[in-house]
């Protein structure tokens, strides 16, 4: 995308975990001095719930960003997926699996559209996915004024609120999806091709990679992840919510998490582990501020500053490494 983005090769996945540890340590100290408890059961559980929702989206986003693309339609895909799932279930446990299947199929179809627009129609990914987002926004605004449908009780009890010790099932789902994505990137032909396409599309093409097919697959996987996040949010909310994706800023926050995790926006470099770290970092900051009862708006200011500063530190380290 720009010269600034083409930094030399680096592995920053550990960097974000150092930042996470430091943040948690400082946060614990400040919260304790303040008379609160950061690692109490309710705080931990809610932290992991926040991380699960954003994480599912961000893992998918990682795949497209590594491929040199990006997806700004995810927020609308999430909202649509909550509605499709909740309306198809309509409070009936028997319809659980077909409804989830339907929500994921719709999401995958949107991903396919994104991928085809980016590859076959050669539209810049930024414009293509904003455009598809607008298409979905019109559909959602036109059809829904508020929550609709009813999530099956089994899903609410299972994915929504069930947990193993302090770890919610949804966070385990995130770990499973992240592990699968890591495996795909590290061990499969598709993963290697994706990294190659993101690194240099022309070289990849000349080496026999079918760029279009690879990018379309990445977009489908990204939308599937967003659809899964939608199913999870439907299980939390008990119904479909037409604005949950946009109000949660899932499009921009997922990209922020990906970049915090050390994946280059220009593509070709990065990984899922870093993204999970980035998500946990954002969720921890959220939890710490909630414990300190910081004003929601102030929280947003600090969040903006932290995102910029963290990425600036990465860039600095990369420059220093390049110099030495």
């Amino acid at each position: 995308m720009s010269g600034v983005l083409t930094l030399p090769a680096r592995r920053t996945a550990p960097g974000v975990f150092v930042a996470l540890a430091v943040t948690l340590a400082i946060g614990w100290l400040v919260v304790t001095v303040d008379g609160g408890q950061l690692f109490s059961l309710p705080t931990t559980v809610s932290l992991l719930h926040v991380a699960a929702g954003l994480g599912l989206v961000a893992v998918g986003q990682t795949l497209v960003v590594i491929g040199g693309s990006l997806d700004l339609s995810v927020a609308y895909v999430i909202s649509l997926s909550t509605l499709v799932a909740a309306e198809a279930m309509n409070g009936d446990d028997a319809a659980l699996l077909p409804a989830i299947g339907l929500a994921l199929a719709v999401s995958a179809a949107i991903g396919l559209l994104n991928g085809l627009l980016v590859t076959k129609a050669r539209i810049n990914a930024f414009i293509a996915t904003v455009g598809v987002g607008l298409l979905l926004k019109g559909y959602l605004d036109n059809g829904y004024d508020g929550p609709a449908g009813k999530t099956a009780p089994a899903l609410v009890q299972g994915l929504g609120y069930q947990r193993v010790g302090p770890v919610p099932v949804s966070f385990l789902l995130l770990l499973a999806v992240a592990a699968a994505a890591w495996l795909v990137l590290a061990r499969t032909r598709f993963g290697h091709h994706l990294i190659a396409v993101g690194g240099d599309p022309e070289v990849a093409r000349l080496s026999g990679v079918r760029n279009h097919r690879v990018l379309v697959t990445a977009h489908v996987l990204c939308s599937l992840c967003a659809g899964l996040a939608g199913v999870y949010l439907a299980s939390r909310l008990g119904s479909g919510a037409p604005r949950v994706g946009t109000e949660g800023l899932y499009d921009l926050e997922s990209i922020a998490a990906v970049v915090l995790g050390g994946t280059a926006l220009a593509g070709g470099r990065g990984g899922v582990a870093g993204t999970v770290g980035g998500v946990l970092l954002l969720a921890s900051i959220d939890a710490i501020f909630n414990q300190l009862e910081v004003d929601a708006f102030f929280k947003q200011v600090i969040r903006g500053v932290i995102i910029i500063v963290a990425v600036a530190i990465y860039a600095r380290r990369a420059l220093r490494k390049a110099a030495s």
Binding site: M1, V4, A121, I127, F297, G304, I308
Partner: protein
């Protein structure tokens, strides 16, 4: 508008073959559709007020052009417009005498935000997508925080006239909105700037920063100035928008995507190095024409974004297929 097309465009079209043709074609088609439905749309009074209404987004597109052609993004302009409008209302607090000082404050504030965006992007090596996204979060959070969740104070009539008053009873044209005059002045400045050494340098920087740097261009300075221009254009847009539609936290919502879309519709390449500021401004005008068209054809408010999305995808797809086959 017709005058402008017949006189100015052919010359530009010759200078940059094919650069402006697609956007002019789309604009003409939309104008024809609009005239079919609303024959008096092109009559001077309605055309004048349409152009006045479009001024803010055209200004934003011009500012965004400089950033995009240099290879960066500015996602903070929408939140900057909101922040400016809310800040203006609180500072003026319905006191007419404060109008001019506040205009100066807003322009300086816009330039400052642009400067921060530019310096963080170029000197700290943060991708502009992230810098301006962070700035977006900061500005939205700060403006809510500063006003405790609801806009305070009010704009004076002195301040609002830029956005909603006009020279009345002008012969032949009827009325000329102040906003249109401000737009014309800013547009002339933008065109001059884009054809100056700085403008050409900026395109070179966007095309290949390394080559530009090795040829002696101070890349960081050129890009930073582009961000400052975008910030100042957001300040101007905020002054006009605040005057036209008043104070709200939604004043600038979504304008960043509107401006970027307009710039891309106008044939400017995301990633930098190609495009013209005239194209960017025509792109914005096309987008506004599209909204007017949907109003006249009675497209329900909610479905507007669907139609908008479809047309943007279509237009960009057609022009990118054209340019790649050339």
């Amino acid at each position: 508008m017709r005058i402008a097309e017949s006189r100015v465009l052919p010359r530009f079209a010759r200078v940059r073959p094919g650069g402006l043709a697609p956007i002019v074609a789309i604009l003409v088609v939309l104008l024809v559709l609009l005239t079919l439905r609303q024959p008096d749309f092109l009559s001077p009074p309605s055309l004048m007020s349409f152009l006045g209404r479009s001024a803010p987004i055209v200004l934003l597109a011009a500012g965004q052009y400089f950033v995009i052609v240099s290879g960066e993004f500015d996602l903070s302009v929408g939140s900057l417009v909101t922040a400016q409008v809310v800040v203006a209302a609180r500072l003026i607090d319905s006191e007419p005498s404060r109008s001019w000082p506040v205009v100066v404050v807003l322009l300086a504030f816009g330039a400052l935000v642009g400067l921060v965006n530019g310096v963080v992007t170029t000197r700290l090596g943060v991708p502009s997508f992230i810098t301006t996204l962070g700035m977006f979060l900061i500005l939205v959070g700060a403006v809510y925080l500063w006003s405790d969740g609801a806009p305070k104070g009010g704009l004076s009539e002195e301040f609002r006239r830029f956005g909603r008053r006009a020279f009345e009873d002008v012969p032949a044209l009827g009325r000329i909105p102040y906003a249109l005059l401000i737009l014309l002045a800013a547009a002339a400045l933008a065109v001059l700037l884009s054809r100056s050494d700085f403008g050409r340098t900026l395109v070179a920087v966007g095309g290949n920063p390394r080559t530009a740097g090795l040829s002696g261009v101070r890349v960081w300075r050129a890009k930073t100035i582009a961000f400052v221009l975008s910030g100042v254009s957001a300040a101007l847009a905020a002054i006009l928008l605040g005057g036209y539609s008043g104070v709200s936290f939604q004043a600038g919502a979504g304008l960043e995507f509107g401006a970027i879309t307009a710039v891309v519709l106008g044939g400017v390449a995301l990633g930098g190095g190609r495009g013209s500021v005239v194209g960017a401004m025509l792109g914005a005008l096309t987008l506004e024409t599209l909204f007017a068209l949907m109003n006249f054809y009675g497209v329900s408010g909610a479905l507007k974004s669907t139609v908008q999305g479809a047309i943007i995808l279509l237009a960009v797809a057609v022009s990118s297929v054209r340019s790649s086959s050339r």
